[in-house]
């Protein structure tokens, strides 16, 4: 009996202007003979014609009635006005013996306790009603904006009532470097941070020097930002990128220490996805906390075990989570980690993402910034900053800040809530789109076709070695504007060097901006 979906009410739309003759048919208890005849004729006609004719026929009947206020023109003119009380209709409440003048089936003794209350005019009656649709049933943008403002106010009140404690400033540390998806990742992270309902400081550390594009993005965000840089550029090999990022993060931590910034430090990589619950949850950290990080993306191992392929016994995809492991009494007893895997990177298969196989990602840790200060009162189990950073090797996770891992606080219902997701997704290394996805001035695109005058020019996929070279070259050219002259020269070069495989990326006939 349940309808599967709302029916189209187009018929009702067009019928809005017509009268509703059914009301008349319900009302009179004994319809007149003339009406019955007309109705029968109308039914026959509609059988012949193939569409319903009775409504039109009853318009004729209506026109001959002289009751006031019933004219069709009145009804046609008022689309949205409510149809006035029908003069003919079952009057409610229905008291037997009073509705019609005919002999009532029984007569009730008149006793004030028995009869229903005297007939008062009710606005509501049983029968077919118009479906009121306004002429332009689209949302009013001003009202939508007001609705969003109301939602914000309600959420603010909820936070005031149910979230205990004061909101500590969140310090977000993001290492980044120039690459194709940098703009996309940073914009996503920026939007997440702009939605955080509390004071926030964003420290962006860029590899290879401060770039104007990143600075303009940070300026657009409206957040309090510090834009730091590290002079070395990001190395091409994936295995070397982790220590470089750790170095960038430690640079940011040194900045926090020197400036004595106060708050809760969250390590937000630009390619991660963060839930807003994370920023609520990190308010609870005392010194060093750990959250669970979900790991997205398939990964393939060289050892052929089914668990490492991320499949359960039934063959369903499992989601890996890296984070603290707790026992029943919510004490930290260990860590959930991914075993260290050999990397298997295939650039031409975009479905495979690169998995950086660390033991524990930085993103899973949350610090109280006072842990870095020189002269703050810290408990004994906190190591000194100089001890931690004095090694030759850059620390690969902030676990070294506590002398014993027992003192790490598990957050998010003891690690059961996954509050952020780690997905290292990058474009093909040979992709030449600039970070801002704008090629200015526009290029002349030369596309190889089958009937090209240069028969030997072929489009080849780059191999692993060439991609590394191309990365180095792209790093050299920090200017983000495309060089028109360069591409033309490239095309001319390809004219001449048609023999053999092209060994440099810019020799391709598909010229793309740098």
């Amino acid at each position: 009996m349940k309808a599967t979906g709302p029916r189209s009410l187009q018929r009702c739309n067009t019928r809005r202007t017509s009268t509703s003759p059914e009301r008349y048919s319900e009302g009179s208890i004994r319809p007149s003979a003339l009406r019955l005849c007309v109705h029968a004729v109308a039914c026959l006609v509609s059988l012949i014609l193939g569409f319903r004719f009775s409504r039109e026929a009853l318009l004729v009947v209506v026109a001959f009635r002289h009751s006031p206020g019933d004219s069709i023109s009145q009804k046609l003119s008022s689309n949205l006005d409510r149809i006035s009380e029908p003069e003919i209709g079952l009057k409610f409440p229905y008291v037997p013996g009073k509705a019609t003048d005919d002999a009532a089936p029984e007569k009730l003794p008149l006793d004030s306790k028995l009869t229903v209350p005297p007939v008062k005019s009710s606005r509501v009656h049983v029968g077919r009603h118009e479906i009121l649709i306004r002429p332009w049933p689209r949302p009013n943008p001003l009202e939508v904006a007001v609705a969003h403002a109301l939602l914000q106010r309600v959420q603010q009140e909820q936070r005031r009532l149910y979230v205990a404690g004061e909101w500590r400033r969140v310090i977000v540390i993001t290492p980044t470097f120039s690459r194709t998806f940098q703009w996309a990742h940073l914009t996503g992270l920026m939007h997440t941070l702009m939605s955080v309902p509390g004071p926030l400081t964003w420290i962006v550390v860029e590899a290879g020097g401060v770039s104007n594009e990143t600075a303009s993005l940070l300026a657009r965000s409206g957040l309090e930002c510090f834009h730091l840089s590290v002079d070395q550029s990001m190395p091409a090999a994936w295995s070397q990128r982790e220590p470089m990022e750790s170095l960038m993060r430690v640079t940011a931590l040194r900045f926090v220490r020197e400036r004595k910034l106060d708050g809760v430090i969250v390590f937000a990589d630009d390619s991660n996805t963060h839930s807003l619950r994370l920023f609520d949850e990190v308010q609870n950290v005392k010194w060093l906390g750990a959250v669970s990080v979900g790991i997205l993306g398939n990964y393939v191992s060289t050892q052929d075990t089914q668990e490492l392929q991320g499949l359960s016994e039934e063959g369903r995809q499992l989601v890996s989570v890296q984070g603290p492991a707790c026992n029943e009494s919510c004490h930290l007893i260990g860590w959930h980690i991914l075993p260290r895997l050999e990397q298997s990177v295939k650039f031409d298969d975009v479905s495979k993402t690169v998995v950086s196989t660390k033991d524990l990602v930085w993103a899973g840790f949350v610090l109280n910034s006072r842990i870095l200060w020189e002269d703050a009162e810290k408990p004994d189990y906190i190591s000194d900053w100089d001890e931690w950073t004095s090694n030759q090797v850059v620390p690969s996770s902030p676990l070294g800040l506590v002398k014993n891992q027992v003192f790490v606080e598990p957050l998010g219902n003891c690690g059961r809530e996954v509050l952020l997701w780690w997905l290292r997704i990058e474009a093909r290394a040979d992709s030449k789109f600039p970070s801002r996805w704008v090629i200015d001035p526009p290029l002349e695109v030369v596309v190889p076709s089958k009937r090209t005058p240069w028969p030997e020019a072929r489009f080849e996929q780059p191999s692993l070695v060439h991609s590394a070279e191309s990365l180095n070259q792209s790093d050299k050219h920090r200017v983000k504007h495309s060089g028109r002259t360069r591409s033309k020269q490239g095309a001319r070069h390809s004219n001449k060097r048609r023999q053999g495989l092209p060994s440099k990326v810019e020799d391709f006939t598909i010229s793309q901006g740098q």
Binding site: M1, K2, A3, T4, G5, P6, R7, L9, R11, C12, E26, L80, L90, F92, P93, Y94, V95, P96, E106, L108, P109, D111, K113, L114, V116, P117, K120, S121, S122, R123, V124, V126, G127, R128, H129, E130, I131, L132, I133, R134, P137, R138, P139, N140, E143, V144, V146, A147, L150, L151, R153, V154, Q155, E157, Q158, R159, L161, Y162, V163, D280
Partner: protein, 420 residues
């Protein structure tokens, strides 16, 4: 002398310090998330009926109650189950008396909505006969019915249109309230002003919603409310009303047509598994009428803290003498449905927050539930409070010898048949 003087001064100083806190106790209290319904209406919710009235429960043969339940145990879970739970509550309640001489109210346990179709819908066709048969039974075995012709008896009739015993409104109005019940107090879920099926002096109660099921779906109150308007349900009844306009007096179809493309309205027919959780994430929950003006949505909105938007003209909400619905809910006349978005966005934020605070009052939520086992302040106690407020009975209710008010022969001939 000096020590007594010192002691006196200490006492004086202490009283001076403590007096303000005694006079203004709120100085030390922070803002609470809920607000008490202050004034006469609000305090009434917390009244205790024990000691204020006595109820005598007739012992009817089990074919009127127990056997119906055994035939179909689904009666315990549908929205009309309040009749069964009220019976079970009264059997073990302190207001029950075994001495009918001292009773103020008399209760007849007859389960009129327990005759279910295979789909689970109650068939009301035999209910009038069942009710008449039960009343004939009690009038023959005890003198209390004839003493007042039922004026101090109450019955629980939770069906669509109460004691009219029909699911179609026209038919229900044609039949009217069962004539033999015209002097008794009816406890029903249906309420609409100036309607044939709502008698003066009836107690309107909420429909039964399983409290445990709703309890299981609670989410932490700090989850931000991110839906502005929420509704899940039918907009047209293609089976019973294929052309539209009858069902819900066209109001639900109007809601769909006007707001299906509105981004702040989350309305649809699909019933999600997170229906209760979504209501807790919404600010406004629409409660439009269907075939009858009442629905369990009202109870669910109140429990989950979502402000109910009542779209049903002339509706009488449950426990109106105890709950100030005007301050809690938003009433939208059916003719104003196309302007629903304007109406809802023009409510000031302070008003919305105040309504949410009133809804957060645990006494409000308790009053809407038929808790198992019964707890103070729940719907059972509100019914008893309502009955207690009608005491003492007017002396004119007793029937003089020779007088007769009820007509046992009125009604459609089918009703006059004996039952089973």
């Amino acid at each position: 002398m000096a020590t007594s003087f010192a002691v006196n001064t200490v006492i004086v100083i202490l009283t001076l310090i403590l007096a303000p806190i005694a006079v203004f106790p709120n100085l030390a209290v922070s803002a609470e998330p809920h607000e008490r319904l202050s004034g006469t209406a609000g305090d009434v919710l917390e009244d205790d009926p024990v000691g204020r009235l006595k109820v005598f429960v007739y012992e009817l043969p089990s074919k009127y109650n127990q056997k119906m339940l055994e035939k179909d145990p689904r009666c315990l879970r549908h929205m009309f189950a309040s009749e069964i739970f009220v019976h079970q509550f009264l059997l073990s309640s302190p207001v029950r008396t075994l001495n009918p001489q001292e009773a103020d109210w008399f209760y007849t346990p007859v389960y009129t909505t327990c005759d279910l179709t295979p789909n689970g819908f109650p068939l009301p066709f035999k209910s009038p006969q069942m009710m008449r048969s039960a009343i004939q039974y009690i009038s023959k075995r005890w003198p209390y019915w004839n003493r007042t012709e039922g004026a101090d008896h109450f019955f629980v009739v939770p069906h669509d249109f109460g004691a009219c015993f029909h699911y179609q409104e026209e038919q229900a109005i044609n039949r009217g309230i069962l004539p033999v019940l015209l002097r008794a107090t009816l406890v029903q879920t249906f309420g609409q002003s100036y309607h044939a099926c709502l008698k003066d002096g009836s107690i309107v109660v909420p429909p039964y919603c399983p409290p445990q099921k709703m309890q299981n779906h609670l989410i932490p109150p700090r989850t931000p409310r991110s839906i502005f308007v929420y509704f899940r349900g039918l907009y047209n009844d293609a089976f019973n009303d294929p052309q539209g306009g009858y069902y819900a007096r066209g109001a639900r179809a109007s809601v769909w047509e006007n707001f299906k493309s509105n981004p702040v309205f989350d309305i649809s027919t699909l019933h999600p598994a997170t229906y209760y959780e979504d209501m807790q994430r919404a600010i406004f929950c629409l409660c439009p009428l269907g075939w009858a003006p009442w629905s369990p949505r009202l109870v669910e909105s109140v429990i989950f803290g979502c402000i109910p938007v009542i779209i049903a003209d002339d509706i009488v909400l449950p426990f109106t003498d105890a709950i100030p619905w005007n301050e809690i809910a938003v009433f939208v006349p059916e003719i104003d449905v196309p302007k629903l978005d304007t109406i809802l966005t023009s409510i000031s934020p302070d008003e919305i927050l105040r309504k949410q605070r009133l809804l957060a009052n645990p006494a409000m939520k308790q009053a809407m539930l038929f808790t198992q086992p019964a707890e103070p302040g729940d719907a059972f106690h509100q019914i008893l409070n309502g009955l207690a407020r009608k005491l003492p009975h007017d002396s004119s209710i007793s029937v003089q010898p020779g007088q007769q008010f009820l007509n046992w022969n009125s009604g459609p001939p089918g009703d006059l048949q004996p039952w089973e």
